[in-house]
Structure formats: structure tokens, C-alpha cells
């Protein structure tokens, strides 16, 4: 199986406080990984480092993506190389319409692949197709990026963007939180439809319920900057039942 993402002993600090304390994670093509863990344990920090955000200072370790050192690529290059981060808190960009934003992004991806920009007609066709996939309100694409979107609409919009860009590696940071049960199914369905043998997904979540729809191959528990436990999908059920206290006690050796 081909390695997609290989994180080795990754350490990172924010303002001299160590947030990631040696993370090792292997993700192969075709796999779905779930990362769970209490608030503040470092899940989003890890995700943003993969996407290229210069929030935390990397103090050690490596991230390799499809054989390349990820630290050599800036965020836009990572995106074009197929990495997609679904933001935990999607950003509002007043004045920039979704349509223009997506057109700019998509055409950059196409340029990278040596393709011509899409014609206006083809672009709109693609837009419609993907909108149907995530059942997003048609009017949202004429509005400014995330501006005034409801919490749930913002999350759906992340999946919509993912559908437009068809990434190889999608990292969905709590895309399920704030969604009603129908929306959750739609989002999960979207993710599943986009799944291929040669791509991979990492879902960061607090809720086992999402994993009923997106079945993970592996579940990892991130606790205080470390992956303290990994297992199959049953680990999520166990966590749900026993809570993080159980993990805490295991870590502390009780």
C-alpha cells in the first residue's frame, strides 16, 4: 500500500509552549483515519501544520506527503498537491463571492495540472453538480465566502469546496460539529461519494456518531500532544462509553 502521509515524531510549540509532543502517524492511500481527543489536545494544531499554517513552530520531526517533505511547500502548493483542510472555524471573507473564490481556486489547481481554465459554462455546470452532491442552498454561492452563513452552512460549504477541488488527502476538522442529523448524513454521504482507492481522509471529531456514517479504518486518540492510543473503529465506541478519564488513567498508569 502506498504511503500518503507520514508524520514522524512531530513536535511543535506555540509561544514556547509545547503543543505537539512527538506525533507519529501513517496514512496510506484508500484509508480513513479518525482522530479524537479532548479539547485543547492539539488536533487542530496538527491539522493546520499539515495544511501549512504558520501558527506553531515546528521544533522537531517530519511530515512527508507522497514522498515529499511537506515543509518545502507553501500552503497554496500543498493545496495544489492535493491536500485539503476542512476548517474547524471557516473564515468569512466579505466582498469575495463564493463563485469568484472557487473559480480562482479551481483554475489554480487546473493550471498546476497543465489544464486550461474552465469555461464559464463548464464551471457553472461543475458548480451545480457539486452543489447537488452536498445539497447546499443554491443562493449561497452568490454570497460572500462564509459571510453570514449559519454554522451548519459553513460546515457544508467546506465539504462543497472539497467536492470542487477533489483532493487526495482531506483533513476534516470537526466538520460534523454544529450539524443537524440530516446535514450530518449529507456531509458524510458527500465524503463517502468522493472516496476513491487512491485518496485518504482524516476526520477529526468528538462524536462517535459521525463514524457510523464515515467508517474509519483506524481511530487515534490524541491526548496532550501525543497519540496515546490507536485502534480500529471499536475504539471510538469504547471512548464514547468510558470517556477520556479512561484514557487519562491509562496514560498516567493508573
Amino acid at each position: 500500500m502506498k504511503s500518503m502521509l507520514s508524520i514522524k515524531d512531530l513536535r511543535a510549540s506555540i509561544e514556547d509552549k509545547e503543543i505537539l509532543k512527538g506525533i507519529t502517524l501513517e496514512v496510506n492511500e484508500g484509508e480513513v483515519h479518525a482522530i479524537m481527543g479532548p479539547n485543547g489536545s492539539g488536533k487542530s494544531t496538527l491539522a493546520s501544520l499539515v495544511a501549512g499554517k504558520e501558527l506553531a513552530d515546528v521544533t522537531g520531526g517530519s511530515i512527508t506527503y507522497l514522498g515529499k517533505n511537506l515543509f518545502d511547500l507553501n500552503p497554496e502548493e500543498r493545496s495544489k498537491a492535493g491536500i485539503f483542510l476542512g476548517f474547524q472555524y471557516p473564515i468569512e471573507i466579505p466582498g469575495v463571492t463564493m463563485v469568484n473564490f472557487l473559480k480562482a481556486a479551481l483554475n489554480e489547481h487546473r493550471k498546476h495540472k497543465g489544464l486550461e481554465p474552465l469555461s464559464a459554462k463548464d464551471f457553472l455546470k461543475l458548480l451545480r453538480e457539486k452543489k447537488d452532491l452536498v445539497e447546499i442552498d443554491s443562493k449561497l454561492t452568490n454570497r460572500s465566502v462564509n459571510a453570514g452563513f449559519s454554522g451548519g452552512e459553513k460546515k457544508k460549504n467546506e465539504i462543497f469546496q472539497m467536492a470542487m477541488l477533489e483532493p487526495k488527502l482531506a483533513i476534516l476538522d470537526e466538520t460534523d460539529s454544529g450539524l443537524d442529523i440530516d446535514a450530518l448524513k449529507i456531509v458524510a454521504n458527500g465524503v463517502n461519494k468522493l472516496k476513491r482507492k487512491d485518496n485518504a481522509t482524516i476526520v477529526i471529531t468528538h462524536y462517535q456518531r459521525l463514524l457510523d456514517y464515515i467508517i474509519p479504518d483506524y481511530v487515534h486518540v490524541l491526548f496532550d500532544g501525543r497519540i496515546v492510543k490507536s485502534g480500529g473503529k471499536e475504539l471510538a465506541l469504547e471512548l464514547e462509553k468510558k470517556g477520556y478519564e479512561w484514557i487519562k488513567n491509562q496514560v498516567n498508569g493508573n
Binding site: G52, P75, I91, I93, G95, S144, L165
Partner: protein
């Protein structure tokens, strides 16, 4: 009014020049213009030129007191701006109405009169008696100076009930092989229930130093509607003082949109008197400044009557060591109940050296009013930049998209579709650094 005790050399020069040419000025102009002229020089002697601005005048500018023959190809000026815009074009060359394009006064469909201020002042003494110099108060020495020297400019008269959808494009050309100072004077009268709009484009056609000191008076009668768009695209050697005085009667509406794309030193003064109930004023401004440029926007909205509405939105992007100022004064008089007055000034500073001075001044003497003001100074939102980059948009492009979105909030208020598109294009080019001050002229300056 603060009176001067000492008259500087620069001021003395103007006063002497006035004395030498006074009889010539008076012989050419009509009585109402000369009346205002007299008070102009009197007030100028008292007020002078604001001290901080004096160095800008100290350049030995030639003052053209009569039109000079300049050779240019009219066709290329026509092309120069907005190819798809269907507009009626008039030209000022170095402050004087240019007759190449026909008579000095022209009647358009629906009885609109457009042409030379000098000619109109003789032909329509009644209108001048009533309006000329009635709105441009001499609280500023530069306005008084303009009144003293006023000879020509644009006159526009829109008679009662006349609706003219086609915009009137006024092109101010400054072109000379020497450094010159130009003072033109415009008078625009829009009568009851009438509707019209102008687009004013300023072009410096030769690389010489220029100083323009212009005054425009605009009167909108009851129920009239008027649209004013100005695109300033002059080079780094150009200094421009532009004073607009608007008098709005009941239920009239007026929109002004001032886009400063380039210019060495620019000061826009917008003065609005809401002089009848139900009047509505929207005043927008966009300034894109870089290098050593300096742009000021001074606004003064006088809510003299109840039930009026005013809204101001001025936005700026400042790069390099450019500086700018926004000074927005709103006066709500004691009996002006049910006033709505809004003001916003938002700025993006792209460097540490760029500076903006923003100062709202609200004076509210009525109690039942809705007013708000807000000023922001900031950088581009880093989170939004990262969000775009995370979707594959290169940083440079992402910055551009954000600046453009910021600017478009102002540009979007331009009502003429073709012009809006053109300004969008110009601003995009400008933000990309691809627009030279004369890029939109077919004639190349350099």
C-alpha cells in the same frame, strides 16, 4: 474666519496678478460672476492659502489667463476612456472650455444645456444671479482664490422634469510644456423632478508639474436627482484641490463617487447642504495611494432641515510611504429631527510607513436622530489570506482579491454599468501595479 496679518510672497503674487488682470477678467465676465469675484479677492486677502499648503504653490507655476492653442487629437481623447460607454463628452483644456467639439453652449435632447461657464454667464444672467457663488462659501482661502480668478469651466443646466439617462462625461485635460496652474469653475443646476449624471475624468497629458484648484457648485431642486462620478488619474507631479459644494432641496437625491487612482497630492473637499426635508445624499470615495503620494478627503454634511438622510463611505488602500487623511464632519442642526446620518472610513495599510489620519466630527444638536460613524485602519486579514491559500490561491493573488473586494464596496455604487465595469478594470490594474497614470489615455505621456 481667521484673518491674516502677514501676507506671504505666494499670496502677494496672486493678489498682484489679480490687480494686473482685473479689468480683463471683468470685461470678459458677466456681472454676477464679477460680484463673486470681488468678494473672492477680498476674502482671499483675509484668508490666504493655508500655511501647510503653501509649499505646494511654490513652484513658479505659470497661470494661463486665456485659452492657449494646444494640439491634440480629439478622436484619441474619445477613445481614451470607456469604449463601451455611451456618453456625451465635453472637454476642458487647461481649465478652459474646448470648442473643438462644437459650440460653446449646446442644447441636448430634453432641453439640457451644457457648455462653457463663461458663455453661459452672459446668456443666462438670471440663473447666475440665483446660483453662482451662492453655495461655494469662502471659508477656505483656496475657494476664495478660485472665485477671484474664475473665468471658465463647465456649465450644466437640466431643466424641470427633464430626465437624461446618458451620462455627461467631462474630461479635464491639463497639457502644457511648462508647469502650470489651472483654476476652473463649474456650475451645475438640476431643476425640479429632473435627473442627470456626470462623469469627470482628470488627465494630466504631459509630465510637467500641474496644480489644479477647482470649484464645482451643484444645485438640486425639489425631487431632482443627480449623480456625480469623478475619476482622478493624474501623475505624481500633479497637485489637485477639488472643492464641491452641493445644495440639495427637498426630496432631492445626490450621489457622489470620487475615485482617486493616482495623483501626487490630492485634496477632495465635499460640502453638502441638505436644505430641504427628505433630501438624500450618498457620498463615496476610494483612494489607492502609493509611493510618496498624499490624498485627503474632507467632507462636511450639513443637515439643515429635518428628515434628511446622508451616508458616507470612504475607503483607502495605502502602500509604500503614502499618506492620507479623512476628515468627516456631520452637522445636525437643532431642528433637524429624524435625521439619519452615517459615516464610515475604512483603510488598509500595506506597509509600516503608510499612514492615514482619520477624524470623524459629529456635531449633533437635535435629539431625535440616528447617526453613526466608524473608522478602521488595518492590514489584510491574515486568516482570510490563509484560507484562500489553503484552497490553492497564491498569496499575491489572494491579497489582490481581498484588496479588490475591499475597493469594490465603493465602486459597486457607481450606477452606470459600463462605467462601473471600467472602473473595476482600472482599479484591478491599479492594484496589480499595471496602471500607469495615463494608461487609460490613448495618448501616451511618457
Amino acid at each position: 474666519m481667521q484673518n491674516k496679518t502677514v501676507i506671504s510672497d505666494i499670496e502677494r503674487e496672486f493678489i498682484d496678478l489679480y490687480k494686473e488682470n482685473r479689468s480683463m477678467f471683468e470685461a470678459k465676465a458677466s456681472a454676477p460672476v464679477n460680484m463673486v469675484r470681488k468678494s473672492g479677492i477680498r476674502d482671499f486677502e483675509k484668508l490666504g492659502i493655508p500655511t501647510p499648503l503653501q509649499p505646494l504653490f511654490r513652484n513658479g507655476y505659470r497661470k494661463y489667463l486665456e485659452p492657449r492653442k494646444v494640439e491634440f487629437d480629439l478622436a484619441s481623447v474619445f477613445q481614451c476612456d470607456i469604449p463601451t460607454l455611451d456618453a456625451h463628452l465635453v472637454l476642458l483644456v487647461n481649465g478652459f472650455f474646448d470648442k473643438k467639439n462644437g459650440n460653446s453652449l449646446k442644447e441636448l435632447p430634453s432641453g439640457i444645456i451644457i457648455g462653457s461657464l463663461a458663455s453661459a454667464s452672459h446668456k443666462f444672467p438670471g440663473l447666475f444671479e440665483k446660483h453662482y457663488g451662492k453655495y461655494a462659501s469662502h471659508k477656505d482661502g483656496l475657494v476664495a482664490l478660485n472665485s477671484a480668478f474664475a473665468q471658465d469651466g463647465i456649465f450644466l443646466y437640466v431643466p424641470e422634469g427633464s430626465v437624461y439617462k446618458k451620462p455627461i462625461q467631462i474630461v479635464n485635460l491639463v497639457m502644457a510644456k511648462e508647469d502650470i496652474m489651472v483654476q476652473h469653475r463649474n456650475l451645475i443646476i438640476v431643476e425640479k423632478n429632473a435627473e442627470a449624471g456626470v462623469i469627470i475624468c482628470d488627465h494630466a497629458m504631459t509630465p510637467n508639474k500641474f496644480l489644479t484648484n477647482s470649484v464645482t457648485e451643484i444645485y438640486t431642486a425639489e425631487n431632482a436627482s443627480f449623480d456625480y462620478v469623478k475619476v482622478q488619474n493624474e501623475h505624481n507631479n500633479a497637485v489637485q484641490f477639488s472643492h464641491i459644494f452641493v445644495n440639495q432641496e427637498a426630496n432631492s437625491s445626490m450621489t457622489s463617487n470620487i475615485m482617486t487612482l493616482h495623483g501626487g497630492v490630492v485634496r477632495n473637499n465635499v460640502n453638502v447642504l441638505l436644505n430641504g426635508e427628505g433630501a438624500e445624499n450618498n457620498s463615496y470615495g476610494l483612494y489607492l495611494v502609493d509611493r510618496e503620494q498624499h490624498v485627503d478627503n474632507y467632507t462636511y454634511i450639513d443637515h439643515a432641515k429635518p428628515n434628511c438622510f446622508s451616508n458616507q463611505l470612504y475607503k483607502g488602500v495605502l502602500d509604500d510611504s503614502a499618506t492620507g487623511a479623512f476628515n468627516g464632519r456631520i452637522l445636525v442642526r437643532k431642528d433637524s429631527q429624524k435625521t439619519h446620518a452615517y459615516q464610515a472610513n475604512n483603510n488598509i495599510l500595506l506597509t509600516d510607513d503608510a499612514k492615514i489620519y482619520t477624524k470623524p466630527q459629529l456635531e449633533i444638536y437635535a435629539d431625535d436622530v440616528k447617526c453613526s460613524h466608524g473608522a478602521t485602519v488595518g492590514q489584510l486579514d491574515e486568516e482570510a489570506l490563509f484560507y484562500m491559500r489553503a484552497r490553492g490561491i497564491p498569496e499575491k493573488e489572494a491579497r489582490l482579491i481581498m484588496m479588490f473586494a475591499f475597493a469594490h464596496e465603493v465602486i459597486g455604487n457607481v450606477k452606470v454599468e459600463a462605467l462601473l465595469k471600467r472602473i473595476d478594470e482600472l482599479v484591478e490594474k491599479r492594484l496589480k501595479g499595471e496602471l500607469s497614470p495615463c494608461d487609460n489615455c490613448a495618448m501616451k505621456c511618457y
